[in-house]
């Protein structure tokens, strides 16, 4: 039976109509084979335009529709809904792009553009005639979210999900949640105490019944797809029974092994059995086997002897936990840049050159010096401090390779300069900068405040070298004060490197596990920088916080909330829909060679054993319909629904004048 096709040509105001002669295109279309009705319209996407399509479908008993307007990216969902409401399968609609691919690119050749529009419509009609009705697939979704990373981003996302009644599993590789924010003393520009505002959220995450906290654990495997991911989490051996440990600390008191504390950036000491910081959540001790005397020599075991509840368990083994979750939020944060490659700045060589995060720990009341800033060389209070900005940021040299601005260093330096001034009123501070970026709410005002403080000096120039007096360990910075056109050589007691934010260690491993991409700066990549900022190219996986790129705490919290809302939006319905325009295998042709499994970017084809031998199968929920497998298949056994050979060559034949569109 012949098809009954309707063609609707849109002027899109003057966007198309100003270049293409739309009534002429509609007139041409009405003469094409199987076309029952063809109309030109000012705005087809308007309510009136939509009603006209529905009316035409009813009056002419249409069974297929071509809309010649803008890109399908914009309005395909609109018109699919329109035809569906009029009783036609939504996949029997085809959109011809007369705007982006015709009028906008041929503005100065109106006649040729009209001819091209006619050809595009002719191709569209040939295609729509060959389309098959398809059905959107649905699948129940697991209403549980895996949150990877227990910093402020992960905590906030888990709390927001809990507020919506959605269960989450918060995985953190360190013994406590809290992340980088817990290491900070104060926050800019308001000067709030970081741990004072963070700790209540940590405690809430710990006690919230909808949040399962898995600390000292790592994500090892992810299978499945949006709505139903199967994940494997490794619970590393803590050698302390979490259920028994009360966090009394008797074990750490007796432990004889002292090692640098990572939480204090190595500036303080901890024991081999430890909690990283006082407000740790959960307050459960962990044995660091690498520095524990018992694990090295088989002796000691003092912690086990003094533990009042017998929680120490040297025999504990790592365990694997298998879970099904509907969505994954990646909140793995950042690491501070290691400035060793900048030999001329003297980090690791001159004892009084430290990083900003180290200063943060020194100035924090809970830090190794109790909040008293001391020169590493002699333990005295520094009288002059220099900050060097952009260490590891805005640097295109291959050895650094961080072209980006880390966004927070200007501001955290201001905060540290202010804190130093508050602690020691006679201290003088120089800040060597290239540009100051104070872009956030209240930031410029904070900059103004810090600049107006006596003893704080801004020097516009990137230091060329830092040299050390071998006796006094005081440091001399040579730099051009670019605004004076002079080279300066100034002496300081302490030099602080304002280091960049780089992707957290293990980001490449996580990228492989999750199958998501990273941008050239190494941070996880969002789908669209403006309109889909927390979604990844893999459906059901979201990113937030510094895992996506350097950002401050307010932006991190906002993104975490966005990611939680994205995950909730996916799972609240209880089911996920699957676009039916996926690849499918003709098992009679397939020989199970497996080439499709190697070319697919989404891992959708699998080789399975059937009575007839090995065959490829497509996991439809994973398939994005990209067609790579169909193109690669040497037996032409794979085709993509909506893009079959017949459909595509039918369209191509019209393009090259071999078609049968004319009646």
């Amino acid at each position: 039976m012949a098809s009954r096709i309707g063609v609707f040509v849109c002027h899109c105001g003057s966007n198309i109509g100003g270049v293409v002669d739309c009534p002429a295109v509609a007139g041409y279309a009405s003469g094409l084979k199987d076309v029952v009705v063809a109309k030109a319209n000012m705005y087809t996407c308007s309510t009136a335009g939509q009603e006209e399509i529905k009316k035409a479908i009813r009056e002419n008993k249409l069974d297929r529709v071509v809309v010649a307007s803008c890109s399908p990216r914009l309005h395909e969902p609109t018109f699919r809904r329109v035809v569906e409401e009029a009783g036609i399968n939504p996949f029997l609609l085809h959109m011809v792009n007369l705007r982006e691919q015709c009028s906008w690119v041929h503005m100065k050749e109106k006649e040729a553009a009209t001819e091209k529009a006619k050809a595009l419509v002719r191709m569209g009609v040939a295609r729509v005639r060959r389309l098959d009705p398809l059905k959107v697939l649905e699948e129940p979704a697991e209403r549980r979210v895996l949150v990877v990373g227990g910093g402020i981003a992960g905590i906030q996302a888990a709390l927001d999900l809990a507020a919506l009644g959605i269960e989450s599993v918060l995985v953190e590789r360190n013994p406590s949640i809290g992340g980088r924010m817990a290491q900070l003393d104060k926050t800019f520009p308001t000067g709030d105490c970081a741990i004072c505002v963070l700790a209540p959220k940590m405690v809430e995450a710990l006690h919230q019944p909808l949040i399962t906290l898995l600390t000292y654990s790592e994500l090892n495997e992810v299978g499945g797809h949006a709505g139903n991911f199967d994940v494997v989490i490794e619970r590393k051996a803590r050698y302390v029974d979490e259920a028994k440990c009360m966090g009394c600390g008797a074990c750490a008191e007796k432990c004889p092994a002292k090692v640098p504390n990572e939480f204090d950036q190595g500036k303080g000491l901890r024991k081999a059995i430890y909690v990283p910081f006082a407000q740790a959540a959960p307050l459960k001790y962990t044995i660091d086997a690498a520095s524990c005397i018992h694990f090295k020599t088989g002796k000691c075991g003092l912690c086990a002897k003094v533990c009042p509840v017998g929680a120490v368990d040297f025999e504990q083994k790592p365990r694997e936990l298998k879970l099904r979750v509907g969505a994954i939020i990646v909140a793995t944060g950042f690491d501070p840049y290691k400035p060793h490659v900048h030999g001329y700045l003297g980090y690791g060589e001159h004892v009084n050159v430290i990083t900003a995060l180290e200063l943060e720990r020194l100035i924090s009341a809970s830090g190794p010096t109790g909040g008293h800033v001391r020169k590493p060389s002699d333990g005295k209070v520094p009288r002059s401090v220099a900050f060097i900005q952009c260490v590891g940021s805005r640097n295109r040299k291959a050895i650094v390779g961080n072209a980006y601005c880390s966004r927070v260093c200007c501001m955290y330096t201001m905060k540290l300069a202010q804190l130093l001034k508050e602690h020691y009123s006679d201290i003088s501070t120089s800040i060597y900068y290239i540009d100051i970026r104070a872009f956030g709410k209240g930031f410029e005002e904070f900059y103004h405040k810090v600049r107006s403080m006596s003893g704080v000096e801004y020097i516009r120039g990137r230091p060329a070298r830092v040299t050390e007096d071998p006796e006094t360990h005081s440091l001399t910075i040579r730099a051009e004060e670019t605004l004076l056109n002079k080279i300066t050589e100034r002496e300081y007691d302490l030099v602080v490197l304002s280091t960049a934010l780089v992707p957290a260690e293990g980001a490449d491993r996580l990228q492989r596990i999750l199958g998501i991409s990273r941008s050239s700066d190494g941070f996880f990549q969002e789908v669209h920088p403006k309109l889909r900022p927390v979604e990844t190219a893999r459906d059901g996986i979201f990113i937030c916080g510094c895992a996506q790129g350097p950002k401050d705490i307010p932006d991190t919290v906002a993104q975490a909330k966005a990611a939680a809302s994205g995950a909730a939006g996916l799972l609240m319905k209880g089911k996920v829909t699957i676009d039916p325009q996926t690849a499918s295998v003709n098992e009679e042709l397939c020989e199970g060679c497996g080439l499709c499994t190697t070319v697919c970017p989404y891992g959708a084809p699998r080789i399975v054993d059937t009575p007839a031998g090995k065959r490829a199968r497509i996991i439809e929920a994973l398939c994005h319909g990209c067609g790579t497998c169909a193109a690669a298949c040497p037996r032409r056994a794979i085709s993509c629904r909506g893009f079959t050979d017949e459909q595509v060559s039918g369209e191509a034949d019209e393009a090259f004048g071999h078609g049968e569109a004319g009646k």
Binding site: R394, R460, E480, I487
Partner: protein, 220 residues
């Protein structure tokens, strides 16, 4: 305007206000006597308001074409100045010269690019991965093309062609060695005859001698 005393080592850059006279005294002969004695300071002071007339919009493109890549993307951080041995001892700051390139202040470069020692330390440190040393090389190419080679360079090439080496002991040194009974530094200048022949061949083939004003087209 007060006259400053002649700067000694370490007092680099202390010359604002009397620019223009120092350049002619530079021992390396960096100034071509035919070119205007303009220095950064003098131009900046005299042209206290830039009207755009001094601006050559093609200068940046020209530099890029001649190998001074990325000159537009300089962050003006000044790291190059801090590591530059010339900037340390003269009023010329590498960063500032790059800024003048970006501005298209071509006139200033009639004399300056020849003072770059080409040590590449600026390149080693530059966070924007620019190579200021090669920017100055590019400017040298442009200037030789536009204005011809400066006198000191022509003189250097002359010496090279004559002796097969670009450094010759001065007459004073020769006389001194003679009176002290020391052997001459070049006991046998004939050693270099082969070098000179090769150089002549190369210069002739590449037209370098013509560029340096050593050969008129009608000479051969």
């Amino acid at each position: 305007m007060t006259k400053h005393p002649e700067p000694v080592d370490g007092e680099a850059g202390d010359k604002h206000g009397d620019g223009g006279t120092k350049m002619e005294k530079k021992p390396d002969g960096a100034v071509d006597e035919k070119l205007p004695d303009e220095t950064v300071e003098k131009l900046i002071i005299e042209e206290s308001v830039l009207t755009g007339k001094e601006h050559d919009p093609n200068f940046v493109d020209e530099i890029v074409r001649h190998g001074g890549k990325d000159v537009q993307t300089c962050l003006q951080c000044g790291n190059c100045t801090g590591v530059c041995p010339v900037s340390l001892k003269t009023p010329y700051k590498t960063r500032n010269l790059i800024k003048l390139c970006q501005y298209g202040y071509k006139r200033i470069f009639f004399t300056i690019p020849w003072i770059c020692a080409g040590c590449y330390r600026c390149y080693e440190h530059c966070p924007a991965d620019i190579n200021p040393a090669e920017v100055f090389t590019a400017i040298r190419h442009i200037l030789v093309r536009d204005k011809g080679a400066p006198a000191f360079l022509r003189e250097m090439v002359n010496i090279l062609m004559k002796y097969g080496q670009n450094n010759v002991p001065s007459d004073d040194i020769r006389r001194f060695r003679e009176t002290e009974g020391l052997p001459p530094l070049w006991p046998d200048e004939k050693e270099y005859d082969a070098v000179i022949r090769e150089l002549k061949l190369l210069f002739d083939a590449t037209g370098y001698d013509r560029l340096m004003g050593l050969r008129k087209d009608d000479a051969k």
